[in-house]
């Protein structure tokens, strides 16, 4: 091998090594900078604590029959509702919905919001073959979109019809509420907000208009507003016969 070709060889090696380092740095950098640039109430590297259990009390006596504020707030916050143009009404996702019910014996009617009840022993988590359906230590029941295979067994198992399957491609999603065609989703109790020390969007909207039908808080904290309210007056779990110990409770039905 001649001297000049040796030199060219060394130059090529040098270039390749530098290019490699540059590419590696470019790949790693976003992760490094992202993890240092956001501030959370609960740091992202700290696990969720089982010393809390998040819950919502729905006081249906304060729900107006024509009010849909919590539903609209959830749609805006999490980006569902108008994002599935091809799906028909029965195929569109619903994270929270307004339901009007009437007592069969007395005729007394009520309107209330229905969503994931965040059970302590969720049937959806029991049946999920891959473990995509899971319950956080603080009681919020979620779907891991990365390992959901779209089998829909959780939807068969849920007593509250709280879950939806995405029937088509989605665009312009909210970064904090990833959704995907072929996977299952439901109310997240706005975990992205709760982790920052905020309250869920539905609860915020309800209190913003002074309806105050929804109270969010830590069920394990005796002094929290929700615990005090639950202690002061009667409330029920939906399908209490199933013994699921739901995180969402209702007053007035």
């Amino acid at each position: 091998m001649s001297e000049s070709s040796k030199l060219a060889d060394a130059a090529r090696r040098n270039f390749l090594a530098r290019a490699g380092v540059a590419a590696g740095a470019a790949a790693v950098a976003p992760g490094v900078f992202l993890s240092t640039s956001t501030a959370h109430a609960r740091p992202a590297d700290e696990p969720v604590s089982s010393e809390k259990r998040w819950g919502i009390l729905v006081d249906t006596t304060k729900c107006a029959s024509d009010c849909n504020d919590c539903v609209t707030a959830c749609e805006n916050e999490n980006g569902w509702g108008s994002s599935e143009p091809n799906s028909d009404a029965a195929q569109k996702a619903h994270w929270i919905r307004s339901v009007t019910i009437k007592n069969k014996a007395t005729g007394f009617a009520k309107t209330l919001p229905m969503m994931c009840q965040h059970c302590e022993t969720p049937p959806c988590v029991d049946v999920c073959p891959t473990g995509a359906s899971f319950r956080r230590a603080d009681g919020i029941v979620l779907v891991d979109k990365h390992i959901c295979i779209g089998c829909r067994y959780c939807m068969m198992a849920c007593p509250y019809k709280a879950r939806s399957f995405v029937h088509e491609d989605l665009h312009d999603q909210k970064p904090w509420a990833p959704r995907g065609k072929g996977t299952v989703e439901s109310c997240t109790m706005c975990d992205h907000r709760v982790d920052k020390g905020q309250i869920p969007a539905c609860v915020e909207a309800c209190s913003a208009d002074n309806h105050n039908a929804l109270i969010f808080g830590d069920l394990y904290d005796e002094n929290s507003e929700i615990s005090q309210a639950l202690k002061a007056k009667d409330s029920v779990e939906l399908r209490a016969d199933l013994g699921l110990n739901t995180g969402v409770r209702y007053r007035g039905i």
């Binding site: 799906s87 339901v99 009437k102 473990g131 068969m156 198992a157």
Partner: protein
């Protein structure tokens, strides 16, 4: 006298053979196209929605999976229960079981929202989920049956044939228990949540699997012009009669138990009286055409011996099976969830309290039919390349005490 049975590949060179193979390939290709379309567009092109989440593909898949374990029963009767008449049928029984299971599994997988994540399903297990257990049971069934067939077909391995058969028999019982428990474990739904669903599915598998076996046996012997004697066929059709009656018994007990409990009157009324298509399917197709009519044909002193009648009875059992699974699966989901006991739903943005509607799309049906075609293709190729079928099943060959032997 010990009979030695000669097994031989089918010739598989006739025009009919190639037409059969080509026809099946065409159906599979159409099913593949339908699947690509559904997966590319998303499930909005199907009849499924967020109320009826399991549709027509599940009806086909569960039929095939349940029939698969039932098809293996014929081999088990020969091996585990030592009935010599069934022994020559063991190889076909094992092949059919594998083929039906593969057909069913492919339909199940291709109907997932994310079939591309099959590897996730194989590597992430939640052991509290009966679905996760079923993934293991299905794969295990394939492995156990392949080993069983090998012990059966390889002379040097014949001595292990009985224990292998026993394992396969137990495995298939557990497998169908698991399939039935998919529904039995659904606590929230009025139509399911019953322990009897597991044994009921086991009995259903006996009936569905044997009906498919009889049809495949008759077709393959007829088309290859190999002799098939009455000794085998009449025994099989009598057994089918017993299984049909057993399924009817389980259906009766299941519904009677529900009728006794007031909380289940709603769903019973829906299925038995005013559920529209589900009520019609239950009484006319499942009970009438799929159970009582084939029972009458099978046990009729003269019709019961006619081959076209036996084939028709077996086909009717399969039609009834589809009706039964449609009523259980779709009917069970169509009936609304009881979320607010004591209340009726006046209005809801998400169809609470209403009977949900479902009309299967052509894509879903194509996928399901493709699963059946795949199973039949596996059997067709199987008997062409390996020695699954005895050269003769005439009475003298299977039973030395038969008349005229």
């Amino acid at each position: 006298m010990k009979l030695s049975m000669n097994y031989r590949e089918i010739e598989g060179s006739s025009t009919g053979f190639w037409i059969l193979l080509g026809g099946l390939a065409l159906v599979i290709a159409l099913a593949g196209g339908a699947t690509l379309y559904m997966e590319h567009e998303g499930h909005y092109v199907t009849g499924m929605n967020n109320q009826i989440v399991w549709g027509m593909p599940h009806v086909f898949a569960i039929f095939l999976i349940v029939a698969a374990s039932g098809a293996l029963n014929v081999a088990s009767i020969g091996t585990v229960f030592g009935k010599p008449l069934y022994k020559p049928l063991g190889r076909l029984s094992g092949l059919l079981a594998i083929a039906l299971l593969l057909g069913g599994l492919i339909v199940l997988v291709l109907d997932l929202g994310r079939p591309d994540r099959l590897i996730v399903a194989m590597t992430y297990y939640n052991f509290k989920s009966i679905f996760a257990w079923n993934i293991i049971l299905y794969n295990g069934f394939l492995a156990v049956t392949v080993v069983y067939l090998w012990m059966m077909m390889e002379r040097r391995m014949n001595r292990y044939y009985r224990p292998a058969g026993l394992v396969a028999f137990l495995w298939r019982l557990i497998l169908t228990t698991g399939t039935g428990s998919i529904f039995g474990f659904l606590v929230a739904r009025q139509a399911y949540d019953a322990a009897i669903m597991a044994p009921m599915f086991v009995i259903m598998s006996f009936s569905y699997g044997l009906a498919v076996f009889i049809l495949v046996l008759m077709a393959s012997y007829n088309w290859t012009r190999r002799p098939l004697g009455d000794a085998v066929l009449l025994r099989l059709k009598n057994l089918l009669g017993v299984y049909i009656a057993a399924v009817l018994y389980f259906v009766l007990v299941f519904n009677l138990t529900n009728l006794y409990a007031t909380e289940h009157h709603g769903i019973e009324r829906f299925i038995l009286l005013d559920g529209g298509i589900y009520t019609k399917l239950f009484w006319i197709v499942q009970i009438g055409l799929g159970s009582l009519l084939p029972l009458a044909m099978i046990y009729h002193p003269t019709i019961g011996k006619s081959r076209p009648a036996i084939a028709t009875a077996a086909a009717l059992v399969i039609v009834g099976a589809f009706a039964q699974l449609y009523v259980i699966l779709i009917g069970g989901q169509a009936y609304p969830l009881e979320i607010f006991p004591g209340y009726e739903v006046v209005s809801s943005a998400f169809f609470d309290g209403q009977v949900n509607s479902y009309s299967p799309s052509v894509w879903e049906i194509a996928l399901g039919v493709g699963g059946i075609a795949l199973a039949l293709m596996i059997v067709t190729i199987g008997v062409r390349v390996l020695r699954f079928l005895p050269e003769s099943l005439e009475d003298a060959a299977v039973d030395p005490h038969a008349k005229g032997a």
